[in-house]
């Protein structure tokens, strides 16, 4: 980890005196997480929000914006693949690792269940 980040390889210093780089996160609906969309250069957080709205929320829906000073972001180094390394096959953690369940249910004359089907059932009718 590092802080005072040089996110995306750019320098931490702003290219205009009295300004700072703010990373911008847009939330498209209240149920979605905020998503990183890019950055703006601004003299204050308030101003960064105004610029972010003009740059990133001109169309589409947005319910909320976050701006975070780039130097306040801690990030993993872009060239450290080891940080995310998977030492061995991890399909045992995935739904895809159990694709034989469906066939096995069939032998019992029953159907495998899916999460989507439960969601529709419980949230719907």
């Amino acid at each position: 980890m590092r802080s005072g980040g040089v996110a995306n390889g750019a320098g931490a210093a702003a290219s205009r005196p009295g300004h700072e780089v703010y990373e911008v996160f847009v939330q498209s609906s209240a149920l979605e997480p905020h998503t990183h969309v890019g950055s703006v250069l601004a003299p204050s957080a308030e101003w960064a929000l105004q610029v972010a709205r003009e740059n990133f929320a001109r169309r589409g829906t947005a319910v909320n914006l976050w701006v975070v000073r780039r130097r306040d972001i801690a990030a993993t180094p872009a060239d450290d693949g080891d940080f995310f390394v998977r030492e061995f096959d991890r399909t045992y953690r995935e739904v895809s690792g159990y694709s034989d369940n469906a066939r096995r249910w069939k032998r019992f004359k029953a159907r495998a269940m899916t999460m989507d089907e439960v969601m529709d059932d419980v949230r719907g009718g």
Binding site: A30, R93, M119
Partner: protein, 311 residues
């Protein structure tokens, strides 16, 4: 003043808007949510205990890996939920440490199913299949909760639960396809868990606080509606794999479109949750306390290291 805030809040709820941590909310909205999410968080953590008991004894390496992955997920769910609870507890002057200590002092309860014994590998299978199955139903029912941070975290949790669903099915399919001894073990495990599974959804009466939660759109389904969903989804599958459900009165009434069943012993199982007097309650709370206390030095060291890095 409070009156206009309240009117505005209710108008937001009725428009289907999501409430965020820093928004104004009535005290009872905060209290109801905090109680719900605190219990949910603690149940995820205490829920890992019966399964973790089977990690060293899992029958194959692959089962051991998937069980460990599941235990890790459940603790992870506890972490995500605690964070949501902490933000709600903060204005009340309560911290993460308080929320965790509440488990040890009995101030917060956890789900009945996690007070029980899991004596065989088939119990680990029934937990993965049916306890998670029941929990998936109660959690999906909260996906539309009016509190944004909870609704968003539940989305992540439900995505991971889809693996738990497959993991549980896989274990019980193997046992059901197995030898007569394996099938018998599965049957016995089902008999141990059935009553507790019905209890899990809570009493059929709609209590005053349940009604309030519906008014606030924290939840939209009654306990009984969810229990009925569970029965409709799982009874046919339980029977399909050749298991007998230990309830001679269980049947689907075509006329009312509802399941009738023998009511669980609300009094006895309720006491188990209220007083932590289930067969495994004390032992698991003891393990939780030990983990909390023995790791205190790590938390302290991290804080000291953080301060050192700042100077």
């Amino acid at each position: 003043m409070t009156q206009t805030l309240y009117t505005r809040f209710m108008a937001r709820i009725e428009r289907g808007e999501k409430i965020e941590a820093a928004d104004w909310m009535p005290d009872d909205y905060r209290q109801l949510l905090l109680r719900l999410i605190h219990m949910h968080a603690v149940s995820e953590i205490m829920g890992a205990y019966p399964e973790k008991e089977w990690v060293p004894r899992a029958p194959t390496l692959r089962r051991k890996l998937s069980l460990m992955a599941k235990v890790q997920d459940e603790i992870g769910h506890g972490q995500l939920l605690l964070r949501v609870a902490e933000d709600l507890a903060e204005p009340l002057g309560r911290t993460r440490d308080d929320l965790m200590r509440d488990v040890m002092t009995g101030r917060v309860k956890f789900h009945n199913v996690f007070h029980l014994e899991a004596p065989t590998w088939a119990d680990a299978g029934i937990i993965g299949w049916l306890v998670d199955g029941a929990a998936i139903i109660t959690q999906t029912a909260l996906l539309d909760c009016s509190y944004g941070p909870y609704a968003r975290v539940l989305r992540r949790i439900c995505a991971e639960e889809s693996f738990h669903m497959q993991h549980g099915e896989s274990i019980i399919l193997t046992l059901a396809e197995g030898t007569p001894a394996q099938r018998e073990m599965l049957q016995e495990a089902l008999e141990r868990w059935w009553e507790a599974l019905l209890f899990f959804f809570g009493p059929p009466e709609v209590t005053a606080s349940a009604r309030k939660m519906m008014e606030y759109r924290i939840r939209s389904r009654t306990n009984e509606e969810l229990r009925q969903k569970f029965l409709s989804r799982y009874v046919p599958r339980i029977r399909a794999v050749g298991l007998r459900i230990p309830d001679s009165r269980l049947r689907f009434d075509e006329e009312t479109g509802r399941w009738t069943y023998t009511e669980p012993d609300w009094e006895r199982l309720g006491r188990m949750v209220r007083e932590n007097d289930g067969p495994k309650s004390r032992e698991r709370i003891g393990l939780r306390r030990r983990a909390h206390e023995e790791q205190a030095w790590v938390r302290d060291a991290l804080v000291r290291a953080g301060h050192a890095a700042m100077v």
